[in-house]
């Protein structure tokens, strides 16, 4: 940012970086511009039209998300014309969208409905019957597409192509019939989809939504508590938010779903994989080991203390070493461990037991 890179934004002079969009400059300056199709991870589309602003000397309103803030630009984000634009645009959206908040927010919060309230847009323009085709028979276990709630902002299809490089979904059809589809309307399981769930994460209206909480009739996301944690499926260390229903499990609480942190706030930039996003059921699974077990003389496993379990393991390992030598031992660590934990495993193998037989399951 230099002094000669300045624009006037809603009457205030602000510095901008070369190449910065009006939207980004406004965000830094704390000036609110609504968006639906914008995502900082994606190239701008300018399709939802909510972010249109007025630029002096331009006849038409311009999308703030896709217009670079040029030095000297005079940009207006609030005036009668823009207010009328936002309200009439949102009124049109409302004719093509479920109005009942409870019904349309079974999953994630609906940013369109929130925006309609925020800008006090008319909702008395009538409604039209649903017209977009979905894939209700898609047998994939995780991702549900609700076409009636979809606003065709194409964040999901662009995310799938631009961030994941997968391109399993596409805008399909044309005009008012435009929908989100897979090739030949196949199940996601029969496509290149990796079930990362990024489409669910980026959807501003909850049209792309997670199946399990819906099927299990869990509380909608807005009634859940978010707890930031590190994914423990691999060593990358993705941050994710456990969505907890505190009343479930007789008050012990239960993880109902996993969502992404805001893009730009964590090292994984909000991106998750199928395991991190959808494979959280192990937490309360009855087969899950929650205490150490030692096999007794009777052949059965018995609960034990950590001290006893470690003692039993050490005794067994030292016994093998004594009878067969250190190279009879091998240590295999898990990719779910951190770098530090993996370091300690090789230290244990080499320094304590005297063998170089050490491996980690993600090493090959």
């Amino acid at each position: 940012m230099t002094e000669d890179h300045r624009i006037t934004l809603q009457g205030e002079s602000i510095a901008v970086s070369p190449g910065e969009t009006i939207l980004d400059a406004a965000a830094r300056a704390g000036v609110e511009i609504p968006t639906l199709c914008h995502d900082p991870r994606l190239e701008p589309a300018g399709a939802c039209r909510t972010c249109l602003v007025e630029i002096d000397g331009w006849r038409r309103l311009a999308p703030a998300c896709a217009t670079v803030a040029h030095p000297g630009m005079i940009v207006t984000t609030e005036n009668a014309r823009i207010d009328r634009h936002r309200r009439s645009l949102l009124a049109l959206y409302a004719t093509d969208h479920p109005a009942d908040r409870a019904a349309s927010e079974m999953g994630a919060p609906d940013q369109l409905l929130a925006m309609t309230e925020r800008y006090d847009a008319p909702t008395d323009w009538g409604t039209m019957p649903p017209c977009r085709e979905g894939r209700p028979d898609d047998r994939n276990p995780y991702i549900h597409y609700e076409p009636d709630t979809c606003i065709l902002c194409a964040r999901c299809t662009r995310y799938c192509a631009e961030v994941e490089g997968v391109s399993a979904i596409t805008l399909a059809g044309r005009g008012s019939q435009t929908t989100i589809s897979t090739v030949d309307r196949l199940s996601l399981l029969d496509t290149t989809c990796e079930l990362c769930g990024g489409c669910v994460d980026v959807c501003p209206t909850g049209a792309m939504t997670e199946k399990l909480p819906l099927v299990r009739e869990q509380k909608p996301e807005r009634e859940l508590e978010k707890i930031r944690t590190t994914c423990n499926y691999c060593g990358v260390g993705c941050q994710l938010d456990l969505n907890v229903d505190p009343e479930a499990n007789d008050g012990r609480g239960a993880v109902v779903k996993v969502t992404s942190p805001e893009p730009g706030t964590t090292t994984n930039d909000g991106n998750l994989c199928v395991k991190g996003r959808f494979a959280y059921d192990f937490i309360d699974h009855p087969d899950r080991l929650t205490v150490p077990l030692i096999r007794g003389a009777d052949g059965a496993l018995h609960e034990a203390s950590w001290d006893d379990a470690l003692e039993a393991a050490a005794r067994g390992l030292l016994g093998v070493k004594a009878r067969h030598g250190p190279d009879a031992l091998g240590f295999v660590s898990s990719s779910r461990c951190t770098v530090e934990e993996n370091y300690l495993v090789q230290k244990l193998a080499r320094a304590v037991f005297g063998t170089n037989n050490v491996h980690q399951c993600a090493a090959t």
Binding site: G46, V68, S88, T157, V183, T191
Partner: protein, 551 residues
Amino acid sequence: MPPAIIQVESTGQWQRRSVGNDNAPRVPEILQRSGGLRAGVSREVARATGMPEAEVYGVGSFYHLLARPNAEIRVCTGLSCALAGAPRVLVAATQAGLAAEPCSCLAGCDVAPAVLRDRTVIPAVTVADVERAGPDASRLGSDSLGDDQRWLGTIGPERGDPEQLALHLGGAKDLAARAYQRSLALGPEGTIAEIEASGLQGRGGAGFPAHIKWSAVRRQAGTTRYVVLNADEGEPGTFKDREVLMRRPDLVVEGLAIAARALGAEDVYLYLRGEFEIPWRSLEQAIAAFEETRVFDGLRFHFHAGHGAYICGEETALLEALEGRRGMPRLKPPFPVEVGLWGKPTLIHNVETIACVPAILNRGGAWFKNLGRGEAGSKLYCVSGHVTHPGTYELPLGVTLDELVEAAGGYVGTLKAFSPGGASSGFLPASERRRSLGFEALAEAGSMLGSAGVVVLNDTVDMRWAAMQQLRFFEDESCGQCAPCRIGTRYLRVSLERHIDGERAGHSAPALDKVSEAAWQMNEGSICGLGQVAPLPLTTALEHFPEDFAT
């Protein structure tokens, strides 16, 4: 491969740009050769081309000729064809056992109703024609046209004075390329100066001064430039480009060659709508004839077919289609003169615009300018609907409706309303019959000359019905990319339907009181011109014919 995104230095705008070039696989054409979007085809095409299979499917599903491969015939249901009995033809075809579907304007409004079989238009098809052919689509032909099924319409003046006509549709083809030689002698600057002196305005709809585009392309730093012919004629009521391509393809080819030489382009792309198989052959023959003379050596002409999408007449949607993607208009600026085909500076002209160029070079810009009244040049006016001889008439730019219809043999019945420039221009009342049909004069009346597709309606027409035909068209042809157009076109159609149904059912008809605000939003918020003008048929009908909406 998803399009890369570049930032244009000069304007700082973001712009989608494909990484490809003309050697990249063209998905729409491969889908066409594969018989359209049948189950499994997308996957095969994806394997063969390396494109993601969902993207192949997304592209195919955008274009009606690919997306609906099972239709044996398609019947145009545009306003002029509907007036001429297209709905009855459609019903008769279905009853005869044909897989028949309605379709948008086929540029055959003067020989209505027009029917499409594969990619060939059969003009002037009657219910009797359909009944005679029976369930065998290949036997379908127009009895009234006899052996001459070349899809030529009426033109006027048939043997006009070449001194008064820039295009002279009735004249003989001219392969001497004198204008091209003169352009070479003048050099690029001299040629562009002649275009500027002529006052030539784009004749595809916008009326934008041609020389500004030429100068802008010439000014670009990049040395790879392209010239593109926009022959995606599809505005309901418009069929002049078809006549130019059929009768004077020589003018089109020579005009393109002049532009390419003046702008330093070596590759010329010809984008013809998919339904223009017959005009395609005519243009191909003209290029072959010129090739024998080797006069345009060093220029390469590339043919590309559309696949059934009106929006691809919008120049940036056309570029997307040429690059093999869904025909969704780009954000502007930047304009194609800066960032066009494959990101290169590109001149895009409508067929009629480019066909004016040879006469301008031959006779001088001043001569061309003086042909018009107020604005420059002679102009092809298409007239259809309730007139005696629907057809294409070359008249001074700025004639009145009365003068045009006089050339077309007079009105049928009593004039009630007319569309001066296709569906996009809305409707004007009979009281405007003496207004100049020029770009400026019509803009002053809240309408536009557009593509000069004039549709005349007499007092037998209910303007609610007429508006409904146009609203259906825009809803079908919206690309669906931006919300104001995608939702708005449907909202207006549904509102009008509810209004009419309510009246029929004997209730008080639901008011159309949100229409004007929805129209304002569509005009303000839409990305491209389609959404911006799509409300006009309804808003102008409400404005000028309130009695038709009274309940």
